[in-house]
């Protein structure tokens, strides 16, 4: 039997998805498949297009695995546009003159960016943002430009503006409507978003109607607006919406929508039964979907239909959550409250620039829509409530109000979700499918990823998938395993006891007595940290060296290109001019990128491994010591200037900060430790965000514990008040030793304390009232650590054999020739991928 001919026009994201779907099907063998691909490359990830500017190559973005079309015997006509469909003869003709007879035809032609017919729009340096070729052209022009304008303040416009900004251009966004993202969000949200974006240095101009584009005086172009104002710019990007590419469909007489789009039914069939349309070119029930997920659904439907299976497209959810220029933005369902009698609740926090709004049904029972700006943590919950039409709590506004009393979140547990709840919208994976995967034995995130594809698209569903997994494991009675790793069936705390009680000093002894196998990158650094907390031996001693994370092993922080950064200790942030000069001189001599850190000290980046001992030799000679920026240990004790200078200070915060930093420097702990000391309650040192915070009052020091900045900020708790110097130190000694002994690996003091039964009150009992009777032991052990302190870098540079282990190669004096720097703002930075290629050759 001769095969039927299946012709597919367009190899974009959806066209390729369709090919993947059909190839998987048995029915594939019934077809001979031919593709027309207009672009000069096969399908690539348009959603990630902007990543092209941060160094991703066309290859990285490609969605087609090598040999996919060859291996599946699919003919691809590259860089050839299908230009004519003769429906009577069932014949497709291409621009290059190829003629193919078809039995079935699939149109996946996508859309094109709409360029408003403003006089001057065709001038040089005017671009759209759709293809890799567009981006190549923009990058080239951007390099020669100073100012850039994006016309259109929608989703894509803002994404394009970010790209221009990142290229270093002074960037403007010009929008016709009175607010940004007019389609997805309302006025209130638009105002918050605008403020945030302006803070990033992008100028926003709303209600601007561009009349013409003429040659400029300072720049390439001058854009004149209807209100008499103008902007000069070197580069213009049009992002004023998309239009479906329905031209060939239209010319062949297929039915198209009034405002464009190839009309399809639930089977993705056009008005001609033999012709299907999928993706952004298709118009379903009057709607064009400008997102990839609905296109993927259509691709599956069309493939199933061709294979003679039941499947239909019944619409898709257009809710979105994304980070635009670093600002979290989300919109769900009826964001504009257009439903009759809908009720609206909103929450605006001017200080944190957070805007949240929910739209609920008249009876207060169902969620219709939502808008979130600045904080989208509620998105997952709200989306599930909407998609599954679930009943709302009695007071729906609790869904968006912040939980200040720590009484826990109102977030609905994953338990409450029905089985058909869609968890991953990119790959249409339901809760049921994930539960099924778990019960089939896929009991890790990795396994679930592989078998369902969930989380491998935008990644937005990762947290939710994790929750479903854990709940299922719990239900199956699987113990949530607290073993450190496969080599040790102990927690970190248990391992600490084993080491201390058994007086164990090497990993070999530890694993022989208590573990199995060879260890790994989890238990080895944990053991190294415990050895250091207990015995405080030099960490590059032979048996210890191999246990250390690269940062500890090289006593420096590794950077993305394999070089290291150097952070000398600058206790309390106090530094003499001479020492500053010394740092400057070393930085200059070794051509290091120099930056002030968030911890009141100086970071020197870009040192090659073999340079580290040389650089440190000079720093040590200038009076510096290691800053332990690489270790899970005390980082910095931040200080404010305090009573010595400040007119409000009530105590000498700098001296106390320096004393504390010198006391605890070098203490290895489960995670890093940060302190701060402020000279009065104005709190310029931000002590309440630290593991240990000290604030001066007229009555003595107030001690705050267990604060955290970083990923999950937490304000420290006021632990004790009116302390003198001695008591302050006593309490901190006890607190730290208790933490070091009992915390889990990589657990900051904040999470450790919150997991302690009894929390901060219990901690007070242990530290202040000595309820465990261990206070003295804690203090003694701390003294041992303090007395055995050594500057690891001093030890290293003073031992030529040690210093030699920093050489790049064991058999050569050369260095890594693939480390390349390029200049930026009068310093160096690592070359990106393209720059590397240019320097090193392919």
């Amino acid at each position: 039997m001769s095969k039927k001919k299946l012709v597919v026009i367009g190899n974009g994201m959806v066209g390729h998805k369709f090919m993947q779907a059909i190839v998987k099907d048995q029915a594939r063998d019934e077809f001979e498949i031919i593709i027309f691909c207009e672009e000069s490359r096969l399908a690539y990830d348009r959603v990630q297009l902007s990543a092209f500017f941060s160094g991703k190559t066309a290859d990285d973005l490609s969605m087609v695995s090598a040999g996919f079309y060859e291996d599946n015997n699919i003919t691809v006509h590259m860089a050839d546009r299908a230009s004519l469909i003769d429906r009577e003869k069932q014949l497709v003709t291409s621009e290059k003159g190829v003629e193919i007879q078809y039995d079935k035809l699939v149109l996946a032609t996508g859309s094109f960016p709409f360029v408003p017919p403003i006089p001057g729009h065709e001038r040089d340096n005017c671009f759209v943002y759709r293809t890799i070729d567009d981006l190549n052209a923009i990058a080239e022009a951007g390099a020669k430009s100073k100012v850039g304008v994006v016309i259109g303040g929608g989703l894509l416009g803002l994404e394009a503006a970010k790209a221009l900004k990142d290229m270093g251009l002074k960037t403007h966004v010009v929008e016709f409507a009175p607010r940004l993202m007019a389609v997805q969000i309302d006025d209130g949200a638009g105002a918050v978003l605008r403020k945030k974006i302006e803070q990033l240095g992008v100028s926003v101009h709303t209600q601007k109607n561009t009349q013409n584009i003429l040659p400029g005086e300072q720049c390439v172009h001058r854009m004149n607006f209807a209100d008499g104002t103008h902007i000069e710019t070197d580069l213009i990007l049009f992002s004023a919406g998309i239009r479906p590419r329905d031209d060939i469909a239209r010319e062949s007489g297929l039915e198209v929508g009034e405002r464009g789009g190839i009309i399809i039914n639930n089977h993705c069939q056009t008005s001609d039964d033999n012709i299907y349309a999928i993706g952004e070119c298709a118009l379903w029930e009057g709607k064009i979907y400008g997102l990839v997920a609905p296109g993927y659904q259509m691709a599956q439907v069309a493939a199933d239909q061709l294979a003679g299976k039941q499947n239909s497209f019944t619409g898709a959810d257009m809710s979105t959550k994304l980070k635009l220029m670093g600002v979290d933005v989300a919109s769900i369902g009826d964001a504009h409250a257009t439903t009759e009698n809908a009720k609206v609740y909103s929450y605006v926090n001017g200080a944190d620039e957070v805007y949240k709004k929910i739209v609920v049904s008249e009876d207060n029972k169902r969620l219709l829509g939502a808008v979130l700006i600045g904080d989208t943590a509620d998105y997952g919950n709200l989306l599930q409530l909407k998609l599954n039409d679930m009943a709302l709590p009695e007071y729906p506004d609790t869904l968006i109000l912040p939980q200040r009393d720590g009484s826990g979140v109102t977030g609905l547990g994953v338990e409450a979700l029905p089985d058909n709840a869609q968890i991953c919208s990119c790959f249409d994976v339901s809760k049921g499918a994930i539960c099924q995967a778990v019960s089939d034995g896929h009991t890790t995130m990795g396994a679930i990823k592989e078998c369902t594809s969930a989380t491998t698209g935008c990644g937005g569903c990762t947290a939710l998938v994790g929750q479903v997994l854990n709940k299922e494991l719990e239900k199956m009675g699987m113990e949530v395993n607290t073993d450190l790793c496969e080599h040790f069936a102990y927690t970190r705390q248990e391992m600490y006891h084993l080491v201390r009680v058994g007086n164990i000093k090497t990993f070999d002894a530890l694993i022989e007595q208590h573990g199995k196998g060879y260890g790994c990158d989890i238990c080895k650094p944990t053991a190294a940290s415990i050895f250091a907390s207990c015995w405080n031996d030099y960490i590059l001693e032979k048996p210890l060296a191999g246990l250390q994370d690269t940062n500890d092993r090289f006593l420096a922080n590794i950077q993305k290109n394999g070089t290291y950064s150097i952070v000398p200790r600058i206790a309390g942030g106090e530094i003499t001019p001479d020492k500053l000069i010394a740092l400057g001189e070393v930085g200059k001599k070794y051509n290091l990128y120099t930056k002030i850190t968030g911890g009141q000290r100086v970071d020197l980046f870009g040192a090659r491994q073999e340079q580290l001992p040389l650089i440190w030799k000079e720093l040590i000679d200038a009076g510096f010591e290691t800053g332990h920026a690489y270790g899970k240990s005390l980082r910095t004790v931040k200080s404010c200037v305090g009573s010595t200078w400040c007119r409000y200070g009530v105590a000498d915060s700098v001296t106390t900060a320096i004393n504390l930093e010198n006391r605890y420097k070098g203490l290895r702990s489960p995670h890093k430790l940060k302190f701060a000391v402020s000279g009065c309650t104005r709190e310029c040192a931000e002590a309440q965000s630290k593991d240990v915070g000290v604030i001066a009052t007229e009555n003595g020091w107030n001690l705050y514990l267990c604060g955290n900045g970083g990923m999950k900020p937490r304000h420290a708790d006021l632990f004790a008040t009116g302390l003198d110097d001695e008591t302050l130190i006593k309490y901190i000694d006890r607190f730290l030793m208790f933490y070091v002994k009992t915390a889990d690996r990589l657990q900051r003091t904040s999470t450790w304390m919150m997991n302690l039964d009894g929390g901060i009150d219990y901690l007070r009992e242990v530290v202040i009232e000595d309820s465990l009777g261990l206070a003295e032991t804690f203090e003694q052990e701390m003294l041992t650590v303090i007395d055995s302190y050594q500057c690891e870098w001093k030890t290293t540079v003073n031992d030529p054999a040690k210093a030699q282990t920093f050489n790049a190669f064991v058999n050569s004096d050369k260095g890594d020739s693939q480390i390349v720097f390029v200049p930026e703002r009068d310093q160096v930075r690592p070359a990106n991928k393209n720059e590397l290629k240019a320097t090193l050759g392919a």
């Binding site: 990158d521 060296a545 246990l547 090289f554 190669f809 890594d816």
Partner: protein, 118 residues
């Protein structure tokens, strides 16, 4: 540039130059090789030093250990694991770094290096 295929054993360094249960880097022509010395078994393994995930020459600086029966090294940058025997990546089996046969003779490390030299 003339390219020749080298398939003979090359002498690299003494076993005592390596760090126990850790990695060391060697340079052969322009290729960087990570050498790992597993003390317990007395074995030395050689992998390409280039980490395909971070695209930097760093594998010798990772921590070595075992996953099940396989000896592995964890990339120090993004922590993917590579099998010392084969160079195969544990997290993504479609990716592998080159592995080279190692011969220890009279306390010297010798490598069979098949590849381009100049």
């Amino acid at each position: 540039m003339q390219t020749a295929v080298i398939d003979k054993e090359i002498d690299i360094c003494a076993l005592t130059d390596l760090i126990e249960d850790a990695g060391t880097t060697a340079l052969i022509n322009d290729t960087q090789i990570a050498l790992f010395y597993v003390k317990k078994t007395g074995q030395v393994f050689a992998l390409e030093n280039y980490d395909p995930f971070s695209e930097a020459n760093v594998l010798s600086r990772g921590i070595i250990g075992s996953i099940g029966a396989d000896l592995v090294v964890a990339s120090p940058i993004y922590k993917q694991h590579f099998k010392l025997q084969t160079g195969e990546c544990v997290e993504d089996t479609s990716i592998a770094v080159k592995a080279y046969p190692v011969n220890i003779q009279d306390g010297r490390i010798r490598l069979t290096f098949l590849g381009k030299g100049s």
